[in-house]
Symmetry: C2
Subunit: 329 residues, 2 copies
């Protein structure tokens, strides 16, 4: 690998000068600059960023922790994160926490080992304590981690309300909500609260089913079929779109007509769902805005680790209306 001193030798200058040229630092004559550029090109020189970072400079690496990018919601979020971070000159270390505490802890340790400038945390297996002591700029998506770690999320309470309202507007009488496992301190619990508030204002009973997030689709499917046959709800609010897709599928198998006999509403509203399942009514989280904000906050913290940020930032959701909640005409 050609190094700085090679360039210096070829250009007939000192290493310092080459370093100055690379970093555009101090005063340099146009002539030396050209000589150095020429030498760099001749040798096809690439500065070794490791050596650079070793001086205590930034690594320009950001750790992005999520629980798997095969879920389109996280896939789209990670893709957007990578895009925006790249355009700011950062690269992404992809950390798939995979519902695995040990793995998430391992990753946290690795990332801490002086390698990344900051972390975006979107997987949440770990207790607060572990994140508390990281000592690196962190921004969290949708989960409380520690007092000085800002949370960015979309308006889960309002989203829950909107879903409830949509169901009631469609004259649903026996709605069911299917949630994931409620996690302590998770803003997503607010989806339930908002929904619940709307229902009780209209004296509609709450009927809640829980399907753990990590459960296999096949198993979820069985549960849902069970639910549909035993409970015979006329409306279902799923707190994620994939589960809503399963409900749609189960309804078809059981010859339950959507929306005639059953209204279905999902949550997340990814580009994927909008393009490939426009029939599904859903609550859209503004992924791009969320990412923009997270990146902005993270870079602020990196620039000034002591800068004061809010504890929590909430972005508005949007209702996307498909035919799955259409009123029967």
């Amino acid at each position: 690998m050609t190094k700085l001193t090679d360039v210096a030798r070829v250009a007939g200058v000192s290493a310092t000068t080459v370093s100055r040229v690379i970093n555009n630092y101090g005063s340099l004559s146009e002539k030396t600059k050209q000589k150095v550029y020429a030498a760099m090109r001749e040798l096809n020189y690439q500065p070794n960023s490791l050596a650079r970072s070793l001086q205590g400079k930034q690594t320009k690496l950001i750790g992005v922790i999520f629980s798997g990018v095969s879920n389109p919601f996280f896939g789209e979020m990670v893709e957007e994160l990578e895009n925006q971070l790249f355009s700011k000159g950062y690269r992404v270390i992809l950390c798939n926490a995979a519902d695995d505490k040990a793995k998430e802890r391992d990753y946290l340790r690795m990332l801490m080992a002086n390698q990344v400038d900051g972390i975006i945390a979107g997987a949440h297996n770990l207790g607060i304590e572990e994140y508390h002591q990281v000592g690196l700029p962190i921004i969290s998506f949708d989960r409380y981690l520690s007092d000085n770690i800002p949370i960015v999320s979309s308006d889960n309470y309002r989203g829950g309300q909107a879903a409830g309202e949509a169901l009631l507007a469609a004259r649903v009488q026996h709605p069911v909500i299917i949630t994931g496992q409620q996690q302590p301190n998770s803003p997503t619990n607010q989806r339930l609260s908002g929904y619940q508030a709307v229902l009780s204002a209209k004296d509609v009973a709450l009927d809640q089913w829980t399907l753990a997030f990590g459960m296999s689709p096949t198993l979820k499917m069985m549960r849902i079929r069970q639910l549909l046959t035993t409970h015979q709800p006329d409306g279902i609010f799923c707190t994620d779109d994939l589960t809503a897709l399963l409900v749609l599928q189960a309804a078809k198998q059981l010859n339950i007509a959507v929306p005639q006999a059953l209204k279905v509403i999902g949550y997340d509203g990814t580009r994927f769902i909008q393009a490939y399942h426009p029939e599904l009514t859903t609550i859209m989280q503004p992924i791009t805005d969320i990412v923009t904000l997270m990146v902005e906050l993270l870079l602020q913290r990196i620039a000034d680790p002591d800068c004061q940020l809010e504890t929590s930032y909430t972005l508005p959701i949007k209702v996307i209306t498909g035919t799955s909640t259409a009123a029967i005409s």
Copy 2:
């Protein structure tokens, strides 16, 4: 940040000794080992991997270049890559080439800058020349890059055949194939060849439509509706599942019954499609096996850069039969 010399001071030994303990190198008395371990724990010490890598050791970083992880196929592949690489002690730098030559080139340059131990290349905007000179272990997914860069892919020719056979077995008379833009040197072109071979053996005419990979779903949808109304095919083979989903959707909108009036077959067979669209007949690429092989080959090349590998590795596909090609009873 606590460093090696801090540990040494606390343990009352030299830096060298601490280094030896960390790397389990040379001969050490059990007693010193314990002292050092204790000091490390006390200080919550994390070795700085940058400094380590600077000695010319490995960085344990792998660049993974794909064109966006929001597509479930790539999402699942990247997720699997991350998993397997993590378990081998490597971390992943996620590079989203996004159909953008300049970005892919930028990434390549960054990765080369002495930072990663190897590259998995799954996005292919760039000409062969750019990859030729990288001088780093590279494994390519589904595309020829250079004579000494192994290609791993699934059996695209056989996949195309299988799709054609499935369509013909369902008594299709006027099938259409919808492909992406054919790229030079891309093994995916074989899907068309295999399909074509099966058709011409039975004297069925080839009818081919092209929808560029980067086209928006909405636009694709319009084209597909056009195709369905003007050409009135009774069978469609899409060389990716997402397009097949669009066909299914378009058919529904146009009141074309699937499979009665139209058989549809896709390609890729992700876990996602299997779980959420079991009705779709599709050709499954063995993502896990592909990844396992790519990782294995890459690690071999890293261990011995001169090791001889095949130019090309082809893994078998599998047909997943849904109702979308069911014979009319």
